[in-house]
């Protein structure tokens, strides 16, 4: 991985740099698996290696592939980086060793999640339990961050109304094999997305990952079959409204409990049995996350790729 990072510094072919970044993300995801973080690995693979890379490539398509040789001498930056890095290494000297079960991180706060989580929130995937319930407000914030990014990109690039190019003219040309494969894969991808969406409380996954997978399905379709078709199914001018609805769904669940006399996002207000309420709440907010993420990722992709085809 260090090698990849160094290669990324040296190379001036931005296309290669972006692909290297994708590989790097994938390796990070593998590392996360090894460190027991399956949910994070899943997300990193989908986001870092998938979404980020695709978006960066779309941008490169517009702005050109080659970087010019830097003119400044890199000494000052090198100095800043060395000092910062040395400070970080210095800081880790007193840190608990990797995997030490006695570390404060494992002694405080976390034990309750591990011990009471399954009974209090009632779902085996503790990451989902912490994510959507104990720290559900952070996740609400995260949904808003994605929504903000969507608003920002649409402010910058505008929304393109309707299909502008003829359907059937695709970005990578006509390739029959690819078309057949994608047609066969698409239902599977969407099905898998649904599975991930509603299965997040048992296994790895959840609204965020599902949203990304769903969007990926459409991006793929768009790449292979031309933009017209994909845009007929989900018109760009409705995507950001869909995203807004997702955020409102999440917030609405919170407000429901608020008006029921409980704290904001206290899901136990949703049903008579608190654990049942938790379950329902988590399901609903994950749906909100999924909808928002799906529509924003797709909207951003449309906005970036739309620019390119007009130019």
């Amino acid at each position: 991985m260090v090698l990849i990072a160094i290669a990324a510094i040296r190379l001036r072919d931005l296309f290669a740099v972006v692909i290297l970044f994708g590989v790097y993300s994938l390796m990070t995801a593998v590392l996360f698996m090894d460190l027991d973080a399956v949910d994070v690995a899943f997300t990193e693979a989908a986001v870092g290696a998938g979404v980020t890379t695709v978006l960066m490539l779309s941008t490169l398509h517009l702005t050109g592939r080659w970087e010019r040789r830097p003119r400044h001498s890199p000494m000052l930056s090198l100095l800043v980086v060395t000092v910062t890095g040395a400070a970080l290494i210095y800081g880790t000297l007193d840190a608990p060793r990797l995997g030490d079960p006695e570390a404060p991180v494992h002694q405080h706060v976390a034990p309750r999640y591990l011990e009471q989580g399954p009974t209090e929130v009632g779902m085996p995937n503790l990451v989902t339990a912490v994510l959507a319930s104990y720290r559900g407000y952070d996740t609400f914030g995260e949904t808003v961050v994605i929504f903000t990014a969507g608003v920002a990109v649409l402010l910058l690039l505008g929304i393109r109304e309707g299909p502008q190019t003829k359907a059937g003219r695709s970005a990578i040309g006509d390739q029959i094999v690819l078309r057949v494969v994608v047609k066969a894969l698409l239902p599977l991808i969407l099905l898998y997305g649904l599975y991930v969406q509603f299965h997040g409380d048992f296994g790895a996954g959840g609204g965020f990952q599902a949203g990304v997978i769903f969007a990926t399905g459409f991006v793929l379709y768009d790449l292979v079959f031309g933009e017209g078709d994909a845009r007929l199914v989900v018109p760009p001018r409705w995507l950001h409204r869909l995203a807004a609805l997702g955020v409102l769904l999440y917030g609405g669940v919170g407000l429901w409990s608020l008006f029921d006399g409980k704290a904001f996002l206290d899901y136990s207000a949703l049903a008579h049995d608190p654990v049942h309420g938790q379950h329902l709440g988590v399901l609903l907010v994950e749906l909100g996350v999924g909808i928002t993420v799906f529509s924003i990722v797709l909207a951003i992709f449309f906005a970036l790729s739309g620019r390119g085809r007009r130019a």
Partner: protein
């Protein structure tokens, strides 16, 4: 990798962070800056996830027969941070596209030259001010 003793994992993460940080502050190409930023952030995620690891622990999904789990909290934090990271990258890329359309370049120093020209055009006088774009680089 996780079986290696001690602080090794943190140090790798630090090296990667600094590689990303270096790209951000030393390179003039705006797209490359964003790649560096993403690299920087991803490496911080590795650092966090390393925190949550318990030796011989298992993924924090309750399974019968497993008693030792890794800490789920860092995982949750990093899920959020990944999302923040991709959101930042997306906004940055959109800005790059607009910059390219407005300036015809994505190289920092070329843009600065054009900015300087704009300043002079606006003020009609050779200004006394130092160029504020002189960045930290």
């Amino acid at each position: 990798m996780s079986n290696l003793p001690g602080l090794y994992n943190y140090w790798i993460a630090v090296c990667l962070m600094m590689a990303g940080f270096y790209i951000v502050i030393s390179h003039g190409n705006l797209v490359k800056k964003l790649v560096g930023l993403a690299l920087f952030q991803t490496s911080v995620f590795i650092f966090y996830i390393s925190l949550g690891k318990v030796a011989d622990g298992d993924a924090p999904i309750v399974t019968p027969g497993v008693t030792l789990y890794s800490n789920p909290l860092p995982h949750v934090l990093i899920l959020t941070a990944i999302v923040v990271g991709v959101a930042t990258t997306a906004v940055g890329l959109a800005l790059v596209v607009r910059i390219y359309e407005a300036y015809g370049s994505v190289e920092e120093d070329e843009i600065q030259v054009l900015d300087g020209a704009d300043d002079d055009a606006n003020e009609g006088t050779t200004s006394l001010e130092e160029t504020p774009e002189a960045d930290r680089q």
